[in-house]
């Protein structure tokens, strides 16, 4: 479970922090997208839109234009999907402006009297959104509380913000841009390494304009990353075309050719050039006891270079095999 948390968090973080053009077009100026809200240890990517006034422009805290504002929290922590979240916006009467903290809010005697909006607790998976219209400029404080599903521990985040405020300092953006650049550089160097592999696969497959031949795929043997397993696959779709769901049979042997009959396989994959995964969640449904594994739910929704990554847990250290082909 912990690794699932980590993986989801990482995927979201990578998706959000290194948005696609940062890769493909080198432009990071728009990518200073680094606004995170901490609700206790629960983190979410936080942003505000005023779509009718400023379209796709996103704001971190202060909202320079009046109008219908949409507050978005994209969870970076899976725990928020099960937590009951409530959201309150109050007028900032603390006298501390943007330096108001939780203690200042707790010191307020009658919170309801200055509440502009209260959204009672609800459990919303993956992303929380709230719409609030602001007709006047002013100083406000947002208060987000999350009560976790297990035992109902409550965590609170407080964020002062201003509506109609324009004198924002630039230094936080510069810091963020530098961070994103650094992260980007790091990720791009990793990605280039992967791309080189994909380019070879693309060259190999460029003649197969009508889709890969399932029998050609079946003729190939794939060795796992650490060399512990050898894999063959037979798609039950000939020719192998896009947009059709079908099954594969995977034959698993050790490096010296002995069938592996009782491994646990998990299947992931996608298109490395497009940064997306499989459109389905295929899995092993049966084995023939002789090293054959039937995988159902395979589908590919785009022409181009695909890879299917099969993680193999056969008792000893796990290993992974990557099957590359072009549709």
């Amino acid at each position: 479970m912990a690794s699932a948390f980590l993986r989801t968090g990482l995927i979201v973080a990578i998706a959000l922090l290194t948005l696609p053009r940062a890769y493909g077009h080198g432009g990071v100026v728009e990518e200073y997208d680094l606004c995170v809200i901490n609700i206790g240890y629960l983190k979410a990517h936080f942003k505000i839109y005023v779509p009718q006034e400023s379209g796709h422009e996103q704001y971190c805290e202060d909202i320079p234009v009046r109008g219908e504002s949409i507050f978005v929290m994209e969870y970076l922590h899976e725990g928020l999907s099960e937590a009951a979240i409530d959201f309150r916006i109050i007028e900032n009467t603390t006298g501390k402006g943007t330096f108001a903290r939780l203690a200042d809010v707790e010191a307020i005697e009658d919170l309801d009297a200055i509440t502009v909006r209260y959204e009672p607790p609800s459990t919303v998976p993956e992303v929380f959104t709230l719409l609030q219209g602001f007709e006047a400029d002013g100083e406000y404080i947002g208060i987000v509380t999350a009560a976790t599903a297990d035992g109902g521990k409550r965590y609170t985040a407080v964020f002062p913000f201003e509506v109609g405020y324009t004198g924002i300092g630039y230094w936080p953006w510069i810091v963020a841009a530098v961070l994103v650049l650094q992260l980007n550089y790091w990720l791009m160097s990793r990605r280039r390494a992967r791309r080189a592999g994909a380019a070879v696969a693309l060259l190999a497959g460029v003649a197969l304009v009508h889709g890969a031949s399932a029998s050609e795929l079946a003729d190939a043997e794939w060795t796992s990353r650490d060399g512990r397993f050898v894999v063959q696959v037979e798609p039950e779709l000939e020719p192998l075309v896009i947009n059709r769901i079908h099954a594969w049979t995977l034959r698993l042997k050790t490096a010296d050719g002995a069938p592996v009959t009782d491994a646990t396989l998990s299947i992931e994959g996608g298109m490395p050039e497009h940064d997306h995964g499989l459109p389905t969640a295929p899995r092993v449904v049966s084995t023939d006891g002789e090293g054959g594994y039937r995988i159902e739910g395979m589908r590919f929704h785009m022409r181009g270079a695909w890879e299917v990554d099969v993680s193999i847990d056969g008792g000893g250290p796990s290993d992974v095999v990557t099957i590359e082909f072009t549709l």
Binding site: I11, A15, V209, G304
Partner: protein, 382 residues
């Protein structure tokens, strides 16, 4: 600027393969729908045809399926969002060719044509009726009752909840049998693809003019349209976040993130009790994808007849194709989730040419005209 003046160049092998893959000649025969025992039954299609145009299947006696799915508009309605008793949540999609899709609705919250057909009947903003009232009409209208009994082996039962649900599902199955007949027709582009496949001149203007040829190359290449709009129906029927703005007064559309949960909970889904296939293979539903990629994602629509089915996008956000192409060219950040598209850097004339190409995908449905209008009333009302 010089690019604007250059004539289209011949297609290379990969491009010829891509063109062939988009042609209607590459469309496989309609696969059977084992979940619907009457899917390919002509009598069921006739019954479904009558039901599709039946305004008594509504709270005010004025709304039928054809109120929003208008045959003359390629089974759409020309509105940003459907308007029946109230306003629908999203834009009315076409039905033509939908028999090929594993998912229905923009968010894929239904997984068959027949289960989809049931939902608008009970939606208070659409037909606003109930399954009991639908079945009462079928039971009391002699022509409907006869046809129902012949198809499903007895009158609709109105006693047990499970039997009511089964009879209601049967109504959807008859409507689906009709909808399966609504197939896309042969467009100018398809004739061009056949001409190319037969070894014809790539620049034969009788099929596509130079702007349209340029547009086709951009569509498959720089415009990256075929990443989602692929295959002979110009759709992969998958779910993608394309960074659309929310409408005034509305939260951003959660799309497939909610749709996946809804289809899994739907009692009329493939794994439910009303699937006629005892095997219940249901690969799409069993191996359905989950995860953060689905936040704000909606289903890729077919582009056949797209020039005649404005406005566009899941909530009708774009009035014209030019706006749609502009949107994909810019590829703005998504309000929720992650826009999969990337900026394209198209020149103004390139956007125009893609639009010109899209205009070559129009054709009336390849369906006998008798099916494209209400059946004669005297046949169904006595």
């Amino acid at each position: 600027m010089w690019q604007w003046l250059t004539p289209p160049t011949p297609w290379d092998e990969a491009e010829l393969g891509a063109i062939a893959s988009l042609s209607i000649d590459a469309l496989p025969p309609l696969p059977p729908d084992p979940t619907n025992a009457v899917a390919d039954d002509l009598a069921a299609a006739e019954f479904g045809h009558a039901l599709f145009f039946e305004p008594r299947l509504s709270d005010n006696g004025m709304i039928s399926c054809s109120t929003c799915h208008q045959p003359i508009r390629y089974f759409t309605d020309g509105l940003p969002r459907g308007v029946a008793l109230g306003m629908s949540k999203r834009n009315t999609p076409t039905i033509v060719g939908s028999a090929y899709s594993p998912w229905m609705y923009w968010d894929g919250r239904r997984d068959s044509q027949w289960s989809q057909a049931l939902a608008p009947l009970e939606d208070p903003n659409e037909h606003g009726t109930s399954r009991m009232r639908v079945l009462s009409l079928v039971a009391s209208e002699p022509a409907y009752r006869e046809r129902y009994e012949a198809l499903f082996g007895g009158p609709p039962s109105l006693l047990e909840p499970a039997e009511i649900d089964r009879a209601f599902a049967n109504i959807g199955k008859a409507i689906a049998a009709y909808e399966r007949l609504l197939m896309p027709g042969r467009s100018k582009f398809d004739d061009y693809a056949a001409h190319l496949a037969a070894g014809g001149d790539y620049r034969e203007q009788a099929y596509l003019d130079d702007d349209e040829l340029h547009g086709l190359r951009l569509f498959m290449g720089k415009g990256r349209c075929t990443e989602c709009h692929n295959g002979p129906l110009f759709t992969n029927n998958e779910f993608h976040n394309t960074g659309l703005l929310s409408l005034p007064g509305e939260l951003p559309d959660r799309g497939r993130s909610d749709g996946r949960r809804l289809v899994e909970a739907d009692p009329f889904n493939c794994l439910g009790a009303f699937n006629d296939d005892p095997g219940r293979a249901c690969p799409e539903l069993r191996y359905v994808r989950t995860g953060v990629e689905l936040i704000g994602a909606t289903r890729t629509p077919s582009l056949r007849n797209i020039a005649h089915t404005a406005p566009y996008q899941s909530k009708g956000q774009h009035a014209t194709l030019a706006e749609v192409i502009q949107h994909y060219d810019v590829a703005p950040l998504a309000m929720i989730g992650h826009n999969e598209a990337e900026p394209l850097g198209l020149k103004p004339w390139e956007r125009d040419r893609i639009e010109a190409f899209l205009d070559t995908l129009s054709a009336p449905p390849a369906t006998d005209p008798g099916w494209l209008q209400a059946p004669p009333a005297e046949r169904w009302r006595r």
